[in-house]
Structure formats: structure tokens, C-alpha cells
């Protein structure tokens, strides 16, 4: 039996050949080493994300999230719901909090859920994978399986917004959260201090307002370079995508020459735990993380 079991909410971007499919592959490898069993919530749906409010309003968004909770309660009773995507976690937690605070909203939600043959009781807790790692296992436990310390690798831990605000990780400050730096150090790499750790990448507005968002991305990447980072690491799929894939566009717009790899914490842990580049899905990076690849291929 696995050490820990969770009802898993992977989210749309994690699906095969979607924009954070490499995140899911590396999470699976990391969890295998840590003996964490993730069982996907059957037939889970989208959380509505941060941009769903325009057309989705209030209740329809909460109903989307409540459907996932109801399915988790029905099929994976007693297990915490764990999300890997920052927006999924945030959207789901927000719904859980709102429904917990308003009997009216809860009744309305259940009236709508009935149309899909479901009901929500309010049992399941909603957690982020990072919370599971830090709170349920702890840094010491996470350091034990390290067989290949990532010595010499300088990393800018980019926390961004949605795993940090408004809920955040318990005990962390909003302005300078340390958990990602600690994870980086746990696997033997160096966490470089830099001043754009919690700067917004533009989020969904990277699509609708590219000019404004790319200035954000420029500031983040520039600061990482200025402080000597070899690569950027993040817990959020949208941060990862925005900060990585638009570097070419940022270069065109601002005349910069950025080309810095952006990976997930789970890819770092996977490599440090002895996983191959394939286990860590490093082939999913648009900008090659060469130093991490070299470490992964080292015997």
C-alpha cells in the first residue's frame, strides 16, 4: 500500500500533448519515488480558470468546481483532492470557501448539480501538490531519496501569483515566500535571490494583452539573469508556459537575447531522485535545460 493516497485533479493543461503535459509526466515520476498514490477524479472537468468569470459569472464557476468535489466524494471518499495546476487549486479552493460560507450558494450549487445526478457535501479538502510535499512529507523526507544532488545549478525560484495569493502556502509570506527556494536547496541546487519572485507573468492576459504581459515576462527573466540564474523553476503551468514560450517574442519586442530554461519543481525532484530526462519529461521544454539534462544523463 502506498504511503499517501490522494484524489487527483490534474487539470486541462496536463493532458497528453497539452501545454503542461511535461508537468504531469514529472509529477508521476516524482510521486512514484515518494510512494504517493494519485488516483484521478473520474471524469473531472475544467475549473473555469482565472478568466472564466467574464462569461461564467459566479454560480456556474462554482458548480464546475463542485462537480469535481462531488465526484471525488463519491468515488474517492476520505481522500484530499490534490491539484498540480495553480489555477485549478485556486479556483477549487475559492469555490470550497464560498460554498462553505453561504448556505444559499451551497443550495443553489446542489440544485444545479442535481441536473448531472450529483450532490456536494463539503467533505473533501482541496490541496496543492506543493502542500502535500511540504506538509504531508516535509523537506527532510523529500531529501531522503536524493541520489543525484543538483550541485552547481543556480536556480531562480519563480513562485508567481496563484500558489502564493490569496491563499498561499501556510506559514509563508506573500511578499517573499521561501518554500520553493527550500525545495530547490533540498535537491542540492542553489536558490539565487532575485527581486521578481512573486511578480505576475500576465496570466491569461498574455493571450489577450500580449504587449502588456510581455513587459512582465521581460522583468522576471531579466532579474533571473541579473542574479546569475542558470534556469527558472516554477510550480504553476501558466507561469511556466508564459515565461518560457514567449521569450522569443520578448526578444523581438525589447531587443533582448533571452534564452533561459523554465522548468517545474517536479522535474528537478525527478532528476535529483535519479530519474532520466524522459522520466522528468525534459523533452517537453521549448528552451532546452541543458545543465539539467546533463545531470540527468550522468551515471
Amino acid at each position: 500500500m502506498a504511503k499517501k493516497e490522494y484524489a487527483f485533479y490534474p487539470g486541462c493543461s496536463s493532458q497528453t500533448k497539452a501545454s503542461s503535459s511535461n508537468y504531469l509526466v514529472s509529477v508521476n515520476s516524482m510521486c512514484k519515488t515518494l510512494d504517493i498514490k494519485l488516483t484521478q477524479i473520474p471524469d473531472w472537468n475544467c475549473c473555469g480558470a482565472s478568466i472564466g468569470y467574464a462569461e461564467g459569472g459566479e454560480l456556474p464557476r462554482h458548480v464546475l468546481n463542485a462537480r469535481n468535489f462531488a465526484l471525488a466524494e463519491q468515488h474517492l471518499s476520505g481522500q484530499d483532492v490534490v491539484a498540480t495546476c495553480a489555477a485549478c487549486w485556486l479556483g477549487a479552493r475559492e469555490t470550497k470557501e464560498r460554498l462553505g460560507a453561504s448556505a444559499q450558494l451551497l443550495a443553489d450549487t446542489n440544485e444545479a448539480l442535481k441536473e448531472a445526478g450529483l450532490s456536494y457535501k463539503g467533505e473533501a479538502e482541496i490541496r496543492h501538490m506543493v502542500e502535500v510535499l511540504i506538509e504531508d512529507l516535509g523537506y527532510e523526507e523529500l531529501a531522503k531519496p536524493v541520489v543525484k544532488p543538483l550541485a552547481g545549478l543556480k536556480i531562480a525560484g519563480y513562485v508567481g501569483c496563484q500558489t502564493n495569493r490569496p491563499f498561499g502556502i501556510a506559514g509563508e509570506s506573500f511578499e517573499n515566500p521561501k518554500y520553493l527556494d527550500k525545495l530547490i536547496e533540498t535537491v542540492g541546487a542553489e536558490a539565487v535571490p532575485y527581486d521578481q519572485k512573486v511578480t505576475c507573468c500576465g496570466g491569461a492576459l498574455a493571450f489577450s494583452e500580449p504587449e502588456k504581459s510581455q513587459k512582465q515576462i521581460r522583468d522576471i527573466v531579466e532579474s533571473a539573469y541579473d542574479h546569475g540564474a542558470d534556469m527558472i523553476v516554477t510550480p504553476c503551468p501558466l507561469c511556466q508556459a508564459n515565461v518560457e514560450i514567449y521569450q522569443g517574442e520578448v526578444n523581438k519586442r525589447f531587443g533582448t537575447k533571452f534564452n533561459i530554461p523554465v522548468a517545474y519543481y517536479s522535474q528537478l525532484l525527478t532528476v535529483a531522485y535519479g530519474g532520466s530526462a524522459k522520466d522528468a519529461a525534459l523533452d517537453g521544454q521549448v528552451i532546452r535545460p541543458t545543465k539539467l539534462e546533463e545531470l540527468a544523463s550522468k551515471k
Binding site: S19, L59, A112, R165, D283, V286
Partner: protein, 207 residues
């Protein structure tokens, strides 16, 4: 102008604050703002707001209904939540901005062609179709929103990004024909239809 808008104007007359309190998500918090301006100074897109949040709150109290609801300001919100965590009075500012944007959108007052309004609508319709987001279709609908030839231009301008994603196996051309999605789409559509009905009834947004 929608009928729902005419009815709202009739009902609330000069009391826009009351309208916001009753019909906008978390609107009952607006009167708590003490005008310190930390929200406006903390916003990553702050310089791009015609009226930053603090100003919007005062405008609501001053009854500037048209100016607020037709503004593109709220659409500048990136959902970074800086304003929420820094507000000394703990106002849920991000949610109020989303709520105002949604209300203006539903009343037909939000600026036409506002890119985030359009993208938000595309996003919602995209996810509702199968219960999960189809990233390829979402990108294409964004590129081609202003017609075919503009779409080709947009797609060509972004081809390096697209090819990079394709090479990294994070973009699947076949998503166009056999997309991911939920099994119980019927149930999802029925529950969302019901949710919209209830919300419209509660917020008097019958269209």
C-alpha cells in the same frame, strides 16, 4: 442596451452603490474602501487602468454608473491577487473587479471588442463544449476572431511559438478532430444551464 440594463436603471435610479451591493459578486464590500490606494499601486497592470480599483470604488459611491460599467479598467485584472493580500481592510478586490466586469458584460455595457472580454468569452465557450479546455481551438479562435486573412497573419506572426510547442509535444494538431473531454457532457451542459438560470434569476439578468 439590454432590457436588463433598462430595468436596473429604473430600479436603482441614483443609487449605484446599492445596485453593486445587490448584484455584483462581493459588491457588499465596496463601501469598506478607505481610499488608501495600495491596490492601485500593487497592480501589475496599474498604469494601464483608466480608473484603478481605488478610483472605481469611489466612482461607485459617487453614482458614476455609466463611467464604471463602460470602462475597460476592470478588464485589466490579471488575477494576481496582489490587491487582495495587501488591502489593509481585506477587501476581496480581485473578485469585485471580476464581478463588475461580468456584470457590465452581461448588461451589454462592457466595451465592444475589449480583448480580454472577448478572450474570456471564448475561453468559457471552449471549456463548456467538452467540459475541458481545448487549447488548440482556443488559440485558433483567438487568432481568427477578426476574420480569415487576419487570422492567417496572426498565426504566422506566432508560428515560432507554435512550432516550439509542437516540437516539445505540448501542442497537438489532432485536438481539432478528436479532442480530450469529459464523458458526461450532457450532464455538464444541463447543470451549467441550470446554474445560469438560477444566477440570472438572483441577479435579475434575464436576457
Amino acid at each position: 442596451m439590454s432590457e436588463a440594463n433598462t430595468q436596473a436603471v429604473e430600479k436603482y435610479r441614483n443609487n449605484f452603490l446599492k445596485e453593486v451591493e445587490e448584484r455584483v459578486e462581493e459588491g457588499e464590500w465596496v463601501k469598506m474602501c478607505m481610499q488608501c490606494g495600495v491596490c492601485s499601486g500593487s497592480c501589475p497592470f496599474g498604469p494601464h487602468w483608466a480608473h484603478p480599483p481605488q478610483e472605481i470604488f469611489m466612482m461607485i459611491r459617487a453614482g458614476k454608473r455609466d463611467e464604471v460599467l463602460t470602462s475597460d479598467s476592470m478588464w485589466m485584472c490579471t488575477s494576481c491577487y496582489n490587491c487582495i493580500v495587501r488591502c489593509p481592510r481585506k477587501l476581496p478586490i480581485t473578485h469585485i473587479m471580476h464581478g463588475l466586469a461580468n456584470y457590465a458584460h452581461r448588461l451589454g455595457l462592457a466595451p465592444k471588442g475589449q480583448p480580454t472580454r472577448e478572450f474570456g468569452k471564448m475561453f468559457w465557450n471552449n471549456l463548456v463544449a467538452t467540459g475541458r479546455v481545448n487549447e488548440l481551438k482556443l488559440s485558433l479562435s483567438l487568432y481568427f476572431k477578426d476574420g480569415f486573412s487576419q487570422g492567417i497573419k496572426n498565426a504566422m506572426a506566432m508560428k515560432d511559438v507554435g512550432l516550439g510547442m509542437l516540437k516539445a509535444k505540448r501542442l497537438n494538431p489532432f485536438e481539432l478532430f478528436s479532442p480530450h473531454g469529459c464523458k458526461d457532457r450532457k450532464g455538464i451542459h444541463a447543470m451549467l444551464k441550470k446554474a445560469r438560470e438560477i444566477e440570472d434569476r438572483r441577479k435579475h439578468l434575464t436576457s
